[in-house]
């Protein structure tokens, strides 16, 4: 393919003006005639058997249409879940976490539904609850799922430890090679520690909402989902409908970050519609959203063994994730956490044991980075601690051990498609490593892209312009703009002559998911394949009139004459017409080896610490966007900055705190996300474009990587200032103050020695 001319430029994003001016329509803005409103009655306790639901007072309230329970919609099986079908949309027999929906009140107005919801009386018999993940895996722990839910059998989730799951084990993963014990015995230095990564709420400005209706035997749902096709599949299973009879439509999305991956409130709205025959809208508050999905907290016990010359010999991780009441995507997070904990380093031996535990807390699922930030905290902090103990510079220690382009970090997987050593040089130079205090940085490589299934449909219209229908969702990351740029280059058309239509399963081509930083790379490739197919069709049509037909930008050269696509189409049809090209990629050929690409993390910070109060201020943030080729450089910067900033939240302030079985901060007043005023005074964003990705023009994905190293980097920076490395996030002022207190005697001793 010719060198791109539209790709590689920072074209202003297509959705920008509508969003900034408040014109953009989100799912909640859609006016669905006749829609009723559903409000969930939620469990007020963590674990209890449901004795009865008395809805009589609620039903008597004016405007109330129905109070829907799992029993009232029998024989519909209300459970959903793409990996394990274990999650009832409305609790069946018992509740497994405080905040779980028990009933759905459907009323003419939202106000009536809310009032009625307060009048539904649920009687319970309390059961012992378990909140801590390690407690949940201990003998005799209260059991969340009496019958283990098993797996749906989706090929994309085969590696999630489906075998031998028992008790509260939601998923388990083991990665192992080499002779760990021998390497440990041969080591000169073994760094050992226990690290804690918090449970997080991935705050999106738009909370979950969906509107569902049944019409002409088809279930249509307007929702704010990242993966409309996955939602379609869940709903088809629940209502025993053919896939062709479920349509999921996603307009603009107000932030996803993984929290809107997979099915969330769509079943509630659909069950409401099923029970009442009315379109039903379910729109959650932020407070309710916090009780819908969070990310997996993790406790990571790690050992790293080094020779005195700095050679990393082996690593050993034992990880327990707190995954909440239902599987959702935690089994996949479990597999990813295992694969992302040990870092992009050469190892003679490795053992990673990762277990995901059911607990009586909000179900956990994906959040930006997907296990990487959790594992990276332990993996990278041990590199820093080892460097100090070995007396080797922390950058040099990494350079000594980091894999070079093409080397495998997981046997049998795709070799690393990046130059991490070069990225590290860019990063540390920007941060002034070695020249200033309080610097922390790290590396990460994530097996990204998910299962490489993607399809695209390109239509070249009678005037020579082109549109493309794809199932990947515009989440605010800018995919509509980037894919338009790729489409323009794929057909040799100017940007103004192309458009992208997204996220309506009734119209667009299949897309497995919008996650794992895959859209630019994988959809970009299926889109280019569809462009090739459309151009082939154009050549075929032209060949009916010309002896010699060659490709040319925006059309063909037929017997020496340049004909635009439009001219070819109009000539062939006589009147009107269009040419359709289809493209698909699958796990085959160059996509056979997983992952499709490695997503690189190379970010760091410089911080200052007020040791008396414990406050940490991030003075500088540097991101290196190793994306192969930036289709839209400005959007890459936006993604890197967003990812890094989100993890700054986890590093410094974000944490869902349970007090007993009660969540103490289920609101964004007490759950502290980063603010504009927290942004570092200096932000340096670097692009590393080496055309080494599998995506269009050598591109590969970004959007998560820049955040994956930030937790460890902040901890390392703080640790270097205090003389002792923290092992738990977030670094609240109190934790930092305590660390400073603990470290003080050591530093005094050193001062005496020094």
């Amino acid at each position: 393919m010719a060198e791109p001319s539209v790709s590689g430029t920072s074209i202003p994003r297509l959705d920008g003006p509508a969003k900034v001016m408040g014109r953009a329509k989100y799912a909640l803005d859609l006016d669905i005639p006749g829609a009723a409103h559903g409000v969930a009655v939620r469990a007020d306790r963590a674990h209890a058997r449901i004795i009865g639901v008395d809805a009589s007072k609620a039903e008597a309230l004016p405007g109330v249409i129905a109070v829907v329970t799992a029993a009232s919609v029998a024989p519909i099986d209300v459970r959903f879940g793409h990996i394990s079908r274990d999650h009832p949309a409305l609790a069946v027999d018992k509740v497994r976490y405080a905040g779980e929906p028990v009933a759905l009140v459907v009323a003419e107005t939202r106000r009536a539904a809310e009032k009625a919801a307060r009048l539904v009386r649920v009687t319970y018999e309390d059961l012992p609850a378990v909140i801590d993940a390690e407690d949940a895996l201990a003998d005799g722990a209260p059991l969340l799922h009496e019958v283990h839910p098993g797996r749906t059998g989706d090929e994309g989730f085969h590696n999630t430890g489906a075998d031998a799951l028992e008790g509260n084990l939601c998923a388990a993963n083991l990665i192992e090679w080499g002779d760990l014990e021998a390497e440990l015995a041969a080591a000169d230095v073994v760094v050992e520690g226990e690290y804690r990564y918090p449970m997080l709420y991935g705050y999106a400005m738009e909370p979950y909402n969906a509107t569902a209706l049944f019409e002409e035997g088809t279930l249509t749902v307007y929702t704010t989902a990242q993966h409309p096709y996955m939602v379609r599949d869940d709903l088809a299973r629940m209502f025993a409908l053919p896939l062709a009879r479920v349509r999921v439509v996603v307009p603009y999305v107000g932030g996803g970050y993984g929290t809107k991956s997979y099915t969330k409130v769509e079943p509630l709205a659909a069950l409401g519609a099923y029970a009442t025959g009315r379109p039903v809208r379910v729109a959650l508050s932020v407070e309710e959203a916090i009780f819908t999905t969070r990310s997996d907290g993790a406790v990571i016990r790690a050992r790293s063994a080094f020779k005195s010359d700095g050679t990393l010999l082996a690593r050993d991780f034992d990880i327990v994730m707190n995954s909440g009441a239902y599987s959702d995507n935690s089994p996949l997070v479990c597999a990813k956490l295992a694969a992302r904990a040990f870092g992009p380093y050469r190892l003679n031996a490795l053992r990673v044991r990762c277990r995901s535990a059911f607990t009586n807390t909000t179900p956990a699922s994906s959040l930006r980075g997907f296990g990487a930030p959790q594992g990276n905290l332990a993996g990278e902090l041990q590199m820093d601690e080892a460097a100090d103990r070995l007396g080797i510079d922390a950058r040099e220690l990494r350079l000594l051990n980091v894999v070079r382009p093409g080397e495998e970090i997981l046997p049998g997987k795709r070799g690393i498609d990046a130059d991490l050593a070069a990225d590290l040089e860019l990063l540390t130079e920007s941060l002034g490593w070695g020249e200033r205090e309080g610097v922390g940085f790290g590396l990460a490589a994530s097996d990204a892209g998910a299962h490489p299934t993607s399809t695209a449909l390109v239509r070249i219209h009678g005037d020579g312009s082109a549109s493309c229908a794809i199932g990947a969702t515009e989440l605010g990351q800018g995919s509509r703009t980037v894919l338009s740029q790729i489409l323009a280059d794929g057909l040799g058309l100017p940007f103004e002559k192309v458009s992208i239509v997204q996220s309506d399963t009734g119209v667009v081509a299949y897309e497995r998911t919008t996650g794992a930083s895959r859209t630019t790379t994988l959809v970009g490739r299926s889109l280019l394949a569809a462009c090739d197919d459309a151009r082939r069709r154009i050549r075929e049509l032209a060949a009916e009139y010309a002896a010699d037909v060659q490709d040319a930008p925006g059309g063909v050269v037929a017997d020496g004459e340049h004909l635009s696509y439009g001219a070819v189409i109009r000539k062939w049809f006589g009147s009107g017409g269009e040419v359709v090209g289809v493209g698909a990629i699958r796990r085959h050929g160059e996509f056979e080896k997983l992952p499709p690409f490695w997503e690189i993390g190379a970010s760091g910070v410089a911080v200052s610490v007020d040791e008396e109060t414990g406050r940490v201020v991030v003075e500088q943030l540097t991101t290196v966007g190793d994306v192969g080729f930036a289709i839209n450089p400005l959007l890459v910067h936006g993604q890197d900055l967003g990812a890094a900033t989100m993890t700054l939240g986890a590093a410094l302030s974000e944490e869902l705190v349970y007090d007993g079985t009660t969540l103490s901060n289920p609101n964004v007043v007490e759950y502290r996300v980063p603010r504009v005023s927290d942004m570092p005074a200096k932000i340096d964003q670097i692009l590393a474009e080496r055309r080494d990705g599998i995506g269009p023009f050598g591109a590969k994905g970004g959007g998560e990587g820049a955040g994956n190293t930030i937790g460890a980097a902040v901890a390392a920076a703080v640790g270097r200032l205090l003389g002792r490395y923290p092992r738990e996030l977030p670094l609240t002022p109190e934790r930092v103050w305590r660390l400073a207190q603990e470290a003080a005697p050591d530093r005094e001793t050193e001062a005496v020695r020094g």
């Binding site: 809310e114 307060r118 508050s285 109060t613 406050r615």
Partner: protein, 268 residues
């Protein structure tokens, strides 16, 4: 929950009408000015009132003026009004600065100083400085007017001396002399301050130090013998509890740190 339960909204056009509504409706009614605390509590179902008396539209009630030797801040003056008032900046600059850092600009644009005091949220900024400055609240009821020092008005968490038939008409701050130095320094990570310290030194006297946001009401620190004396006295005087901002032990320590820094700022 996102939606308020039913209530009747009253919009008195004058103070007299408002006072009359207060005496008629008693504890079934809440005064409503900025609503930044009240509406949240109503939405969460923590509070329920059948009546809200909206005092925002009473003409002149948001006035900020100098009367004699005092700055008089009308009950519906917002934090933003105070923040941007040239009079406040001229006469009580520490209060200007405090107002500038209350919550966020949306809260400041709607929330009022009087409402802040009346709601009695313990983790708030203004009370500590007002106590240190010797400010009073003017309370009005059908029975007449009375004036109460802010220090006495604040009783505890969400508890004040405001009678169920009363309303705050104004907050009155005695004008500091030209030689008076005043400062308010806080430490804050979450939405509300963890510790706020007001220090006011009048004409070379030993400073008045008041710690806010730690206990249920502002705590006056009794000390006289230099910075360390204040720091130690403050650590002893406060009675913090464990919460999301930190443990009691940490907050006690932090109180000492902020007291020291406030006094150093005062001396600088």
């Amino acid at each position: 929950m996102q939606i308020l339960s039913d209530f009747q909204l009253h919009r008195p056009a004058s103070l007299d009408e408002a006072v009359q509504l207060r005496s008629e409706l008693g504890d079934g009614a809440a005064l409503y000015a900025g609503g930044t605390e009240l509406l949240l509590a109503l939405k969460m179902g923590v509070l329920e009132y059948e009546h809200l008396i909206d005092v925002k539209r009473i003409p002149g009630l948001n006035a900020i003026e100098v009367q004699g030797a005092a700055l008089r801040i009308g009950a519906t003056a917002t934090h933003r009004d105070i923040e941007t008032s040239p009079l406040v900046a001229e006469h009580v600059p520490a209060l200007s600065k405090l107002a500038r850092h209350v919550a966020n600009v949306r809260v400041r644009a709607a929330g009022t100083l009087a409402g802040n005091l009346a709601f009695g949220e313990p983790h708030a900024d203004p009370a500590a400085l007002l106590v240190a400055l010797g400010a009073t609240v003017e309370l009005l009821s059908s029975g007449g007017r009375r004036s109460l020092p802010v220090e006495q008005f604040a009783v505890g968490a969400y508890e004040t001396e405001l009678g169920e038939d009363e309303l705050i008409e104004a907050v009155v701050v005695p004008l500091p002399t030209a030689q008076t130095r005043a400062t308010y320094l806080k430490f804050q990570v979450l939405e509300r301050p963890t510790v706020g310290v007001a220090a006011v030194a009048r004409d070379g006297d030993a400073p008045t130090v008041v710690v806010g946001a730690v206990d249920e009401k502002p705590v006056r620190i009794e000390a006289s013998d230099g910075v360390e004396d204040y720091v130690n006295a403050a650590r002893d005087a406060v009675d913090p509890v464990d919460d999301l901002s930190g443990s009691a032990e940490y907050k006690r320590h932090l109180t000492g740190v902020i007291v020291r820094r406030a006094l150093e700022a005062l001396a600088a």
